[in-house]
Amino acid sequence: MSEKVLELKDITMQFGGVIAVNNLSLEVREGEIVAIIGPNGAGKTTAFNVITGVYAPSNGEVDFRGETFISNYPQGKMAKLYAGENRGKYAKEIRKTPDRITKMGIARTFQNIRLFKELTVFDNVLIAKHMNMSAGLFSSTFMLNRAEEKAMRADTLRLLEILDLADVKDEVSSSLPYGKQRRLEIARALATNPSLLLLDEPAAGMNPQETDELTAFIRRLKEEFHLTVLMIEHHMNLVMEISDRIYVLDFGKMIASGTPGEIQNNQRVIDAYLGVDEDGE
């Protein structure tokens, strides 16, 4: 079996008295496309926010290629409030800010598109190249890093060409049609040279035809950029067709995991999505 890229261990995220993610453990292996599905409010995006460092989890650890980069245990106010499991299993606190996590090679897109709205398509992608720049403030102000700047621009253009956005590169990003904005967000994430790509509802708001195109698009990107993909998605057609494995969340807890075939026939998943008649027949 291939190498583990991402591993969540007993992640619990509690806000005050509400447990958004409850004791979630999952793993993503090299070259896989893994999907997290679940009804609204199941804690999928919260899990993403934990992985990308936006939230520090209340308890649990996250590993990237065997290295623990996020770890926390109930402390401070949470020490009293904590209502999850596995208390006392972890005793370290490791935190990384989102920008450092991006530098490790984890890039993400957002559920509600978060482009740099007033900047051009080209600049949107070029900004992602900033973090790997070696020039300091002085040399980039006085344009002493021409070669580097030129390489950054060439990379950006190449990326836009691969993603079919080169023809709109000088347009303000907020003026693009919705589908292209989605694609631009993926382009921007890819510009950070990730090895793991997190997609938060990439097909949200797309019609069936666009969704089909997206399926092919994600496959193509995965091959071309040697990516491992973890995504949140509601479109079942897309999820079932593209995923190697699926995790199902409901009310913060994982209720099932397995291949698309296994998930489709899982009674608990069907119950979570369709609801159970509590009064009985």
Binding site: D99, F116, E118, L119, H130, N132, L137
Partner: protein, 369 residues
């Protein structure tokens, strides 16, 4: 859209610069006659530096800071203390005397300006640590507070031997040449434009647009915010130093909160996020206040004295104009756009060209263009 040739644009820019320089040389040569005009232009140029520095922070990085007056005061006092001639110091500090270490500390003006900028930048760096964790209005309030604290420190009796307390500093030597004011201002603005055009400038803009997304793109938020803040403080300090030299005598009252509001007004008027807008705004604001002076004099038509024309009326008119601008040009004169020859050409084409040539109508009313 038709664009102009690069060489033509360069030529036009050079011509514009030459005209400005020639005009300045003319005014300078006839100093006796035009000293008032020159002093207004000099003040405008100095304000332009502060306005662009504020814009770098507010318009380009999205950090709303109201600490300008404080950082200008730091620069102004540093420059004043370092440039007042050594022999004049006893006369300036006639009440409390001067601190021993400072009695002979003297630097040429250019070096003093840099030191003033550095002092303001260092203070900005220190203040930035706690303050930049705040967002939007809270940041503005905190920086406003720090600005007032700086002013209080300057006028505190404990620092009398350094800042001369409430007596202020006098006998600051003036600029050796009027070109220096415009030269230094232009250099400062040029440097800031270069920073904004670099990759760091792009990172600042990303932070303005969306902090969460910028951080997800690998931009270290605290580092870049701190950087923008320190850069802005440095140039504000340099401009403060120039203001001290321009005014020849300063005290803590020169750097009250009203000064910050003046700068804020310039930035809003010119357009938040436009460097050329800030420059334009500072000249319009400073000169506008003077142009409107005739409203302050009583106006007689025959024997009839027009009511309202009396001292202070000009500020009423000025405020009305500002309100009109804010209402009708909500984004300021320039918005977030910059002046460019292409833009001017397009503007002229749309507003003049089309009027003296009727658009060629298509067979069915056409599309006009």
């Amino acid at each position: 859209m038709k664009k102009l040739d690069f060489k033509l644009k360069l030529l036009l820019s050079l011509i514009l610069a030459a005209i400005a320089l020639a005009l300045l040389a003319y005014l300078d040569a006839n100093r006796g006659q035009y000293s008032y005009t020159l002093s207004i232009l000099e003040r405008s140029a100095i304000y332009a530096v502060v306005a662009v520095a504020m814009n770098l922070l507010t318009g380009f990085t999205g950090l709303f800071s109201l600490g300008q007056a404080g950082f200008m005061a730091i620069g102004a006092y540093t420059v004043a203390i370092l440039t007042i001639p050594v022999e004049a110091r006893d006369a300036v500090y006639y009440v409390n005397g001067i601190a021993d270490g400072l009695a002979n500390a003297h630097l040429p003006l250019w070096a003093a300006l840099i030191v003033g900028g550095i002092f303001a930048a260092v203070l900005g760096w220190l203040i930035g640590y706690p303050v930049l964790r705040l967002k939007s209005d809270y940041l503005a309030i905190a920086t406003l507070g720090f600005s007032e604290i700086i002013r209080a420190f300057i006028s505190a009796p404990q620092f009398d031997r350094i800042t001369n307390g409430s007596y202020g500093l006098k006998s600051i030597p003036s600029f050796p040449s009027t070109f220096m004011v415009f030269g230094v201002s232009a250099l400062c603005i040029f440097l800031m434009v270069m920073i904004l055009r670099s990759s760091y400038g792009r990172a600042f803009r990303a932070i303005r647009e969306d902090e969460t997304a910028a951080e997800a793109m690998g931009i270290n938020l605290s580092k870049h915010k701190q950087m923008a803040f320190v850069i802005s403080c440095f140039f504000t300090g340099v401009a403060g130093g120039m203001l001290a030299v321009y005014m020849r005598s300063i005290d803590a009252k020169s750097f009250q909160i009203g000064l910050t509001y003046d700068i804020l007004l310039i930035v809003v008027l010119g357009g938040i996020g436009s460097v050329t807008g800030s420059i334009l705004g500072s000249f319009l604001m400073t000169a506008g206040r003077e142009w409107l002076r005739f409203f302050d004099d009583p106006l007689m038509i025959g024997d009839f004295s027009v009511p309202l024309f009396r001292t202070g009326f000009r500020m009423v008119i000025f405020s009305l104009i500002l309100m009109a601008i804010v209402l009708y040009y909500r984004k300021g004169l320039m918005g977030t756009k910059e002046f460019s020859w292409d833009g001017l050409y397009r503007f002229l084409r749309h507003n003049l060209y089309l009027r003296w040539r009727k658009p060629v109508a298509g067979p069915k009313g056409g599309d006009g263009q």
